[in-house]
Symmetry: C2
Subunit: 723 residues, 2 copies
């Protein structure tokens, strides 16, 4: 297979023909070094016991990984940060009316999985960064608890003010649910996994199958990460030992109300006791009940107390100094901490990263030092809000901005199809990689397999690998959206679904039965991520390119323009239906539906500055491609050109950041303010439109245009150096 | 309200200005006569006991209705037909492996509804015209049991040959499920009501709410009605006492395999015991299980024996002779037989019809005799396959074809929005009616309320009432699709949903709580159907018109043309994915999915004959409108014109009928061969394309073109008489 690959791809972006030959040989050697048994063995060890931040076994994990990196020839340091990490002291959910019921809040052991018996050091089900609280109130079912759901509640005249809401997981990142509930006046929030989204509806449940059984509880952070991740007590700077910490009462990213996740076993009696209107059909899940909204008569008592302690978050940083450009860094990372055992999340990704590092170390021992510095990082305290990576990035921000070429992230990974998101300035580069690694189950490249899935699900065939846009949810965020470092997030999936995520059941046993039993996709990931790192480390000219980026941003611009137009039409129709009394006529008087409120009309916006900036970007990206067309060998001033290319992504940031959340500085990609992990591209403009802040739209268009223009002028500068 | 209506509509189609004034006054008087209390009282009596065909209480119902008609001044006759009517002797469903379970097959009484305790004379849950059978086999879950579901099974390499299938109700008319299962080689069929489609997922279950509780069983006929309704032993002719009957073994419309409906209470253990692949997500229902397909290990024993007896089906025919055109008939009908008590189905519609007849009788007594003959009919044995109406229509076919102007059908009705289907030659006429009756809950016409619902659900506003196309499922079929008599099917709904349909729980109690408690929509239906009948009876020129029909048929033609084009594209894409190995690559090897078979390419068809016929139809319909533009008063030879107009719909039939089913003679509308009640417009052409019978498409286009051309030349004839 390697031979075929070698023949097919004799040129690699960033390499001269000569250098490409060497690089391809290097990659062939690299591939041969990879050994699936290592991944298996390490996963077994690393997920043997619960190892959340601050736990004894997490320190063992850290020491093990550090020792391995050292053994493989890396300079290793462990950087410790002291981060706020609340753990539960009291967790109580009980129904006090119309009948009594106390939620068990426990995940019992299951047959055949001895890990599920290890309750020592295992964190129970809870949401980190919920505040303490002791509240009793009528319950209201709010579907996913996203903005559209509150519009439905309003139509039914139902307010959550002074109430406790119960929301389904899914539909948004979990932290949005208590955030929005609090904005609407709720005093407490329960989140449960409905079996339709995450349970028996999806497939056989654990231990018979991979899916969530009735007791599974999805843990997770509810920190306001769309505002900023990282330690809430050191906003924007590293939580080193001596850092000044704000008081908890000043922390902005804690929830405003107490929130707890529960299983569908515990949710069923509560939902079953609700009366009031039947929930709209799109709200209903797979519990064998009629879903009602309430409020009440189910009355719930929710009591939560946490230990608000600081715990050490350890980052393992392993460095292999570059031979030629030691001050140009290619950083590869995956977190090591878990909610419980975390075989899948994060160990499946971590063991692939370790195997990459081992192979790179081996290559170096055999004389193949990378031209640039390669760093392999194992992050701590990711689960609570990217704490380890964020504090590290904030601590080393200036150096990282100066030196980093790219950051390549992985996290939990499975089997099936290559999923990759990242900077579109590296899309063409990554396309070559996706076409140079073979799928372990079929006789085609991972690109071709992904493209097949794409087509069978009804999509148009891809000519190149189309990178997704990155939102949030793993350790790339501080690199990418805070510092403006070109990033990737890589993994395999689609044939390894299950319900183990953030539960007691994310075990080695579960992984081996249902995910990637022979670690063949783990090895494939090591090949993809390894090539990505090695090519970036060894490229003569950094393989950035701007036509893919320009096309992508043009598509985003078309989207936001269409968004404004569609919203304008929708609002006009909506208001016409109200003004003509149509809503009132269509209502069933028995349902007592309120006529919805009229919405503000959407004005026409001046998109011209953005359109002009995009014209300019197109022009410059074409000029760059033309300047590169004679190959890397003909590029002059390579070092100076590389220095500019390395910094290109930074040009897409503004120091003032995005509206309401200055930590997020990237103006092309951000997690959604009201969706969480879900990405919003061109976030300043898009969210101003979506959130009805029409006075800000043109200001954001101007900012975006200036960002793009600055980016284009940097391309111009690179071109002039190249000639 | 009447005043407003009178002012708004001073002209009525078919009436001179002078005559319109009289007619509107007549309708105002008619409205005043309607009394909701009558509907209530009659429903209470008519649904007091189970009254299926042949039951003692059904005879009481017949006698009661006949006596009322007589009392109101009609000539009444009761026409009896002897129809085959199988009733269950043995009903057994048991699981023999992997565990034992015997289905209860019963609907226990519920609190607060004394009717549910009346088991005497109540038919248990069964499907009429299932054959006898005693089969034991592995079970296979086939979703709705429609053609697309069998494609999914094939992809999984699952055959139902020699198996018993279990299908969900919904997705098609019930009779399609055993028909298709038998075609695929199954030896038995169970049909159950999944709580997602018809149970707690929809709302609170009976008796707390209106929806189907776990024991509710939907009875119903599984006769092959898309082939032909009516007594299977007298195909195409009336089952009078002395009619020759074919042997049961020759009957073509019985099922080929035994079939029984069961409740979701009884279905759950069977489905839960299935293994094999997890069902595709679109197949899964709302039971708290993981839906598997099988086959087995659930093994089911299904044993069914029926009494294959002939029973008397009584039709009550009440006639009010026309003053001017006694040989032009306007027929109004609703069936009287029920599966059990049938408060909603059919009594809610029947009591509206009776109140109409009472009011008409009263008007006649006061000197307002209709110009044409009006007939009010209460059909028997509808539930088993439109037996009463079909046998009557077959018996009187020649006279009906000569004399009938239109047939206006109702059946079970509820509250909310006017639902009307019918002949588009009467669409413009009906539009005026829908704009002349007020909605009982709001201060607008039933048209405006329906139009509001239309818009709130995202549709474009209607300028006129858009009649649905009629498929099958009630007594209009023999009139409309067999004889070509212009027909309507009318009812209200949208605010009275429930799960009582064809169960033990369709009682007076249920209707009064959840449907139309004060019978205000029953009265509204009497107003709509009464106007429809009275205007047709009194029109100086019959209010047929052809531009609406032409537009509608043009739309249907666009649909079938697009259907062919889209199918061609889909098949090309499908085959390309197969030929390029894409399906194989996208498959999860663990799922063991077969690559689907390639499909026959769709040739291009010559639609020109249809297009030319439609051009001609457009021209003639415009000419007709022009000829009418000076009003009814200026139409010459009214009697001769009326005689042509009365017969127009007949021109849309061909004596040879549709392919494979000569009983269905209408070439514009038919129930779907593989959908059942669901309509297929331009059925000859559409089904040839859908069913891949590409060699027949152009032949069907030619037939359709000739039908339309004949229709157009009749318009031309009418025009020449009018001038």
């Amino acid at each position: 297979m390697s031979v075929q690959t070698l023949t097919a791809q004799s040129t690699i972006m960033g390499f001269s023909d000569e250098a490409a030959k060497t690089q391809l040989q290097l990659e062939a050697n690299y591939d041969k070094l990879l050994n699936a048994n290592n991944l298996d063995e390490w996963m077994k060890y690393l997920s043997a016991e619960p190892h959340h931040v601050g736990s004894p076994y997490d320190k063992k994990v850290v020491d093990f990984v550090a020792a391995k990196f050292k053994e493989w020839g890396f300079d290793v340091r462990i950087e410790k940060f002291n981060v706020l990490f609340p753990t539960p002291k009291v967790r109580l959910v009980e129904m006090t009316a119309p009948t009594k019921f106390k939620a068990s809040l426990t995940e019992p052991p299951v047959e055949g999985d001895e890990y599920s018996e290890q309750t020592k050091d295992a964190l129970p089900g809870y949401n980190a960064f919920s505040i303490d609280g002791d509240v009793t109130a009528d319950l209201v079912f709010v579907n996913y608890g996203i903005p559209a759901d509150y519009e439905e509640l309003e139509r039914r005249g139902i307010s959550v003010k002074g109430k406790i809401v119960i929301a389904k997981y899914a539909g948004s990142w979990r932290g949005i649910k208590p955030k929005l509930a609090a904005e609407k006046g709720a005093i407490g929030c329960l989140i449960y996994s409905d079996p339709e989204d995450d349970g028996y509806y999806q497939g056989d449940v654990y231990p018979k199958g991979a899916f969530k059984n009735e007791y599974g509880i999805q843990r997770g952070s509810v920190m306001d990460m769309p505002m900023a991740p990282g330690d809430p007590l050191t906003p924007g700077y590293g939580s080193t030992d001596d850092a000044k910490r704000i008081d908890i009462s000043e922390a902005k990213t804690l929830t405003k109300i107490p929130v707890l996740p529960i299983s569908y076993h515990d949710a069923k009696p509560l939902l079953e006791a609700l009366e009031g209107p039947v929930a709209p059909s799109s709200w209903r899940g797979a519990l064998p009940i009629t879903y009602h909204i309430g409020p009440g008569p189910a009355k719930v008592h929710l009591k939560l107390e946490f230990n608000w302690e600081q715990r050490p978050a350890y980052n393992v940083i392993a460095t292999m100094k570059g031979s030629t450009y030691p001050d140009e860094w290619v950083i590869r990372g995956n977190h090591h901490d878990a909610w419980v055992h975390g075989a899948s999340d994060p160990i499946s990704g971590l063991v692939a990263l370790m195997e990459e590092a081992r192979a790179v170390g081996n290559l170096v021992k055999n004389g193949n030092k990378p031209m640039r510095t390669m760093m392999y990082c194992a992050w701590g305290a990711e689960e609570q809000g990217l704490l380890g990576s964020t504090e590290w990035v904030e601590t080393h921000a200036n150096e990282l901005k100066q030196k980093t070429v790219a950051y390549i992230n992985t996290d939990g990974t499975g089997a099936g199809f290559l999923g990759a998101g990242g900077s579109h300035t590296l899309e063409k580069f990554f396309d070559q990689i996706s076409k140079s690694v073979m799928d372990p189950q079929t006789n085609v490249t991972v690109f071709e397999r992904r493209n097949a899935a794409q087509q069978v699900s009804g999509g148009a065939p891809w000519s190149h690998y189309e990178l997704g846009a990155l939102g949030s949810g793993s350790d790339y965020s501080p690199f990418f959206q805070h510092l403006g470092i070109a990033s990737f997030n890589l993994g395999f999936g689609g044939e390894s679904s299950g319900g183990e995520y953030h539960t007691m059941y994310d075990s080695y046993k579960h992984y081996k039965r249902f995910k990637d039993p022979n670690f063949q996709y783990g090895v494939a990931l090591a090949k993809v991520a390894g090539r990505t790192s090695l090519r970036l480390a060894n490229a003569e000219v950094l393989p950035f390119e701007f036509s893919h980026f320009a096309n992508t941003v043009n598509n985003y611009a078309d989207e936001v323009t269409a968004l404004a137009g569609n919203l304008r039409k929708q609002v006009e129709q909506h208001n016409a239906l109200i003004n003509n009394g149509i809503y009132a006529l269509a209502n069933n008087p028995k349902d007592n539906l309120k006529v919805p409120d009229a919405k503000a009309n959407v004005p026409h916006f001046n998109f011209a500055p953005l359109e002009n900036a995009l014209e300019n970007l197109d022009k410059q990206s074409r000029a760059f491609s033309k300047a590169m067309q004679n190959g890397v060998s003909n590029v002059k001033n390579k070092a100076a050109v590389n220095a500019i290319l390395k910094d290109m992504e930074r040009a897409l940031t503004k120091e003032h950041g995005l509206p309401k959340r200055p930590w997020y500085k990237h103006h092309i990609y951000a997690p959604g303010f009201y969706t969480g992990y879900g990405v919003k591209t061109l976030p300043g403009v898009r969210e101003a439109i979506e959130q009805g802040e029409f006075n800000d739209v043109e200001k954001q268009i101007d900012i975006l245009a200036s960002v793009i223009n600055e980016f284009s002028s940097k391309i111009d500068k690179a071109i002039s150096l190249m000639k």
